[in-house]
Subunit: 337 residues, 2 copies
Amino acid sequence: MSKVNLKTLAAELGVSVSTVSKALQNSYEISEETKQRVVTLAKQRNFRPNVYASSLRRQQTRTIAVIVPEIANNFFAFAINGIEEIAQENDYHVLIYLTHDSYEKEVSICEHLQSGRIDGVLMSVSTETNDYEHIAKLMDKGILLVFFDRVRHEIETAKVTTDDFVSGLNATEHLIEQGAKRIAYLSLSSKLSIDNKRKAGYMEALLKHNIEFDPNLVVACGNQQHEAYQRIKELLTSPNRTDAVFASVEKLATETYMVCQELGLKIPNDLKVICFSNTTIASLLNPSLSTVVQPAFEIGKQAANILFQHLERKNISILNENIILKSVLVARESTGC
Amino acid sequence: MSKVNLKTLAAELGVSVSTVSKALQNSYEISEETKQRVVTLAKQRNFRPNVYASSLRRQQTRTIAVIVPEIANNFFAFAINGIEEIAQENDYHVLIYLTHDSYEKEVSICEHLQSGRIDGVLMSVSTETNDYEHIAKLMDKGILLVFFDRVRHEIETAKVTTDDFVSGLNATEHLIEQGAKRIAYLSLSSKLSIDNKRKAGYMEALLKHNIEFDPNLVVACGNQQHEAYQRIKELLTSPNRTDAVFASVEKLATETYMVCQELGLKIPNDLKVICFSNTTIASLLNPSLSTVVQPAFEIGKQAANILFQHLERKNISILNENIILKSVLVARESTGC
DNA sequence: AATATTTACGAAAACATTTTCGTAAATATT
DNA sequence: AATATTTACGAAAATGTTTTCGTAAATATT
């Protein structure tokens, strides 16, 4: 395991360090014969240029960070999948950071990333994030950023999301068409732009169908599982009970299923349920779950593509732009289909 | 966005670069007064030491790689969750690489990682991996490695897995106790040690209960979803049909559910199903799914802990050791409970 | 007062690359 | 034959840290 670097290779070949470096980069300055000798020895010694030295000199790391709230979540897992695929294609490396929906953690991660470790960031903000100074600081250091899904509109850069408003409208309208009269909206956090857009779509659908909006039917469930369970239970045990639920995220729908199990409510007869979800087994649930499926994989790919394009073109800041990919509604038994 | 580094700070303060560096590291060589001045300016200028320069000099990166077959998989998602948690605690950074169960990709990733980018690796090998030279090469470069879940026993290092044999035995025995007579084993790949152990447990259970082992009931399903579907369909349509299925991974169980839907077979009456799985919604399936739940989060944490401990103690190679965390069997309707 | 020790800092090497620039020799051009 | 150009390489600077070692001044010890 004797160390091998440009210096040792050069010494062994009786040429200079720069010659070895250039030969390995297939530079026109080096004769074919020398290149051969260098490449052969490098291969034999299993030489790999030290990326930290080379990044330092080149002033680029070919590394990006992905900051997401969680990973045990089908949407984020698929999105990361897409990101990683594009990263491998472009020979970039992907650092992963989980905020667990904590604002403090998100800030701390952004602090850490100001140390030249990365060229760019793909980010989905936490539900608790209410400002954006930590993100602005990051960009001040010349780090490119692209948001996906959970964005902050105050930051001027590219944002890849799904058509949350329209999908929210469609999901709600679907419930109405299936006969629902009192539809509840289960919210994750009013700080999240996507949540607000889905809710806006929900309200638009009510308006369109002349259903009066009842603020009591908008339930802030939060991140904590047990808290969400409680809120939903309260909702489903309150007088003049709701007959349908539109959950802004999958977790809130599955919690609804659990609550119904406990209360003995039958889906879809007693309660219709639809939600944003990327689970692959929606059709196997009891009853099968109607979902709004986000193109998670595509969202990840697009976000990564935009970032890498700009990274290759150097120093060009990313224009403020909303890329919107369509979700698709899949109706199943939970809404009476 | 004028650049700020030790040099510019030193110039502005009228001291040397080394003084600034030492002051920021709170070295005893620097007076309190100077430290104050340095720290204040550094804060004001929002200075972060360049990690590539510092890694180069220190010869450690505080970065690890996690290599897994896929991420849209509850087991790996939870494991990565555990890894990331421990990494953040220890101030390490986590690079993620997906092999998509391709041997070529796994090799290529290992090649890339020989460039001094990382100090250590946590790895779950792909189902197609049949040798281990690429892994040995990595270790030759002085990179520490810990396996989790999908291990290669030929490599001498720590391996964190679950009690696959015993759990396989328990799962099979559970099926037998529930009245199953002809139990099939759905295998992912005979190249995987965990798969073989689960299968060995299955065979042991048959032996114990005097059930003759029928090789036709061991179905190699592979990674491809449609192929798995086909194999399972063949199994369930063949004469003298099996009455129970033990799936080595979740995906094969959900495929089984799909096949049963198509064939109109009723679980658990026509077919009992149990599988290794980490899905959080097993209880919501139709029918609810009996699972062997691996402590995925803990496995990730343990593997990361072992790696970091050795990284801190420098150069100490990791002893060959099998750490086995117990899985727990949760019986539900799919096995008639 | 002479010597020893401590304090507080700076110069420079080291980490492993990449890249600019200089140049000797070989070849081409007039 | 004299000059211009090309070829093939090397020296050295640069990237931004960390760390070793040297040392002048201040303080302590005899």
